[in-house]
Symmetry: C2
Subunit: 366 residues, 2 copies
């Protein structure tokens, strides 16, 4: 089973290839892109242990010189210092402008490798090989790259498009179940903001909380429709001048929750799930959608094994203060993405802090 | 006296405005660009002392909120760490995507501010107000931004176009004479690579080595023709896929000289002058141009008060080894830009290390 989704950007068009068992074909995929001989494969140690050998062999058999760089695992290492180490490896191996950095891993690996590729020699080739569901359906597509500032997530970065996104759904079998669920948060997001058919399809399924519980066919549908939704939005608004902001549904408050909990206790997908629950509640309070729709959304989130409450001890005032540092703040006003029905959202900067505070307090775990 | 040079880039067109006494008009210029309210003015302490007040007043009178950030002076501080401090200021002042960073200063200030603007919130507005001749005719135009890696100049960076380049020639009166001469190296470069009329005009002048020795009219011609040459080349090849490499005439060996002398004993313009002398000598040895033309070039360099010899103690082998780390290396081959006549250059990767070594040794100071 396989599908190819073109991302039609005027300056930097590329394809998302979704194909079972394609990991050992990476070298051949790259060969078709007419890249230079040197490829720096970037990942973390755990993923290298699982897939390093197969990928390096594939690159070498296709005639590339393959080098490797391991970045320490986890969001806490998503820093400018880690990028500086990546630059060192690039220099040691004399990467050239025609060379390529391949990100093999989840969102953190992809974001960091992309930022290094965007800024080494003012930009070299970049390829995404996402290994987490979250990275497959979201982070690997659309060219957002970057690292965290000590006081805020993803504040440092660049828009930099990959030359290719290669997705092998089989690698999800080694993904921890909690990570799989985190990815489902973004899948559900596409259902709420863009694709009501995907939402309806997910509602029909009995289980969404484990790779082992999903058929190969369902997974292919989930990946294809999610990637297509992301590609649709990015094509219309590459640099986030308008429409693209809707992809941040659940992220505005979600980022605050991640930040306040130190990027470790709660993972990104869980934070997005909580953020969607919060946004859904705000929308209900403002009568933008119905309580019934809010419930349908939250049921799906729950079916994916994701939280529908936020930690009782979360400091609501601190969360509200953090909203002000969000990248999407415009003229001091926080912009919220709020659902108007399943499959549609709107962007508004007219949500009072009081409403946000009430919503957060209402969805806190008892 | 004033002129406006459009830089016609498909995605990011902008103008270079060259106008006497325009510094106190910066606020009005920015107002026409429809930017957000927040402007972060970046410079170093010395330039702030000279021009900070006039620029801040201009910004405030035009209705902007002006913030400032001083970066330590000099190439040695052109590091990722200095960028991290700039990010801190951006966060403290809650810059938004619609906000603007203005670089008021020479090439180092411009390169660093541009890189910070390119990578803060994945890109905010950027304006160049160059205060050195070098920055006016070269660094401020064309979107090259970045910092040094400990082992190589400008290896970290991004292509990021400014929204405006505002040049007030009057500020050159406070530029140290050695810096003025450094800028003349790039002016002479345009004569050699692109504009033989400019070259001929410079040949007619008696003095080129001091701001005080140049008429207002001559300076306007020098600035306008140099900026036009740079704009011509950048328009044809924004991302340095081909033609743009000719702007590196004199820079290939020049960068090596700067690097080996620690970016301090010899300034950038002096290194470029030496690099042009070296490239000219290589071209003569390869019979690509005549000894007479080499002499005309070197006479002009000398008239601008610039060196036509390289330090006797420079390690030729180390310089040759450093060429391999140049960003323009392709498939391991060093590409040289060599003159074929006054006003024209060619790009070649067929220069042997022996020829480079001989040329370097021949132009060493006795």
């Amino acid at each position: 089973m396989s599908s190819v989704i073109p991302v039609r950007l005027p300056e930097n068009p590329y394809e998302i290839a979704i194909a079972y068992g394609s990991l050992n074909q990476l070298g051949n995929y790259l060969k078709q892109l007419n890249l230079g001989k040197k490829v720096l494969l970037v990942s973390n140690q755990e993923i290298f242990d699982h897939y390093g050998k197969i990928v390096i062999t594939s690159l070498q058999e296709a005639g590339f010189d393959a080098y490797t760089h391991a970045i320490p695992e986890g969001e806490v290492h998503k820093t400018l210092d880690s990028i500086a180490r990546l630059y060192d490896t690039a220099l040691e191996n004399r990467l050239e402008r025609s060379s390529t950095m391949v990100a093999l891993g989840g969102g953190v690996v992809g974001d960091m490798t992309g930022f290094a590729a965007a800024t080494w020699l003012r930009g070299i080739n970049f390829v995404q090989v996402p290994t987490s569901l979250l990275a497959m359906v979201d982070a690997s597509i659309g060219g957002k790259t970057g690292v965290n500032h000590p006081n805020g997530k993803n504040l440092i970065g660049a828009f930099y498009q990959p030359r290719l996104v290669l997705i092998d759904p089989q690698v999800l079998k080694t993904l921890p179940v909690r990570e799989f669920r985190a990815g489902m948060a973004e899948v559900i997001k596409y259902g709420v903001i863009w694709d009501e058919d995907l939402f309806a399809k997910l509602e029909q399924e009995e289980r969404l909380d484990d790779f082992a519980g999903l058929s190969e066919e369902l997974l292919q549908i989930i990946l294809t429709r999610s990637c297509q939704a992301k590609a649709d939005v990015v094509q219309e608004d590459e640099k986030e001048a308008g429409l693209r902001a809707i992809l941040n549904y659940g992220h505005t408050i979600g980022h605050g929750i991640e930040s306040l909990t130190g990027y470790s206790a709660i993972n990104h997908g869980e934070a997005v799930a909580m953020g969607m629950v919060a946004a859904g509640r705000i929308a209900t309070k403002l009568e933008m959608w119905t309580q019934e729709e809010e419930k349908r959304q939250n049921n799906l989130i729950q079916k994916a094994g994701l939280p529908i409450y936020i930690p009782a001890n979360l400091d609501s005032e601190a969360a509200i203060a953090l909203l002000q540092t969000d990248k999407k703040v415009k003229a001091g006003k926080v912009r919220f993405i709020l659902p108007t029905e399943i499959g549609k959202v709107t962007i508004t900067d007219r949500v009072s802090s009081d409403i946000v505070r009430e919503a957060i307090d209402e969805i806190k775990a008892a």
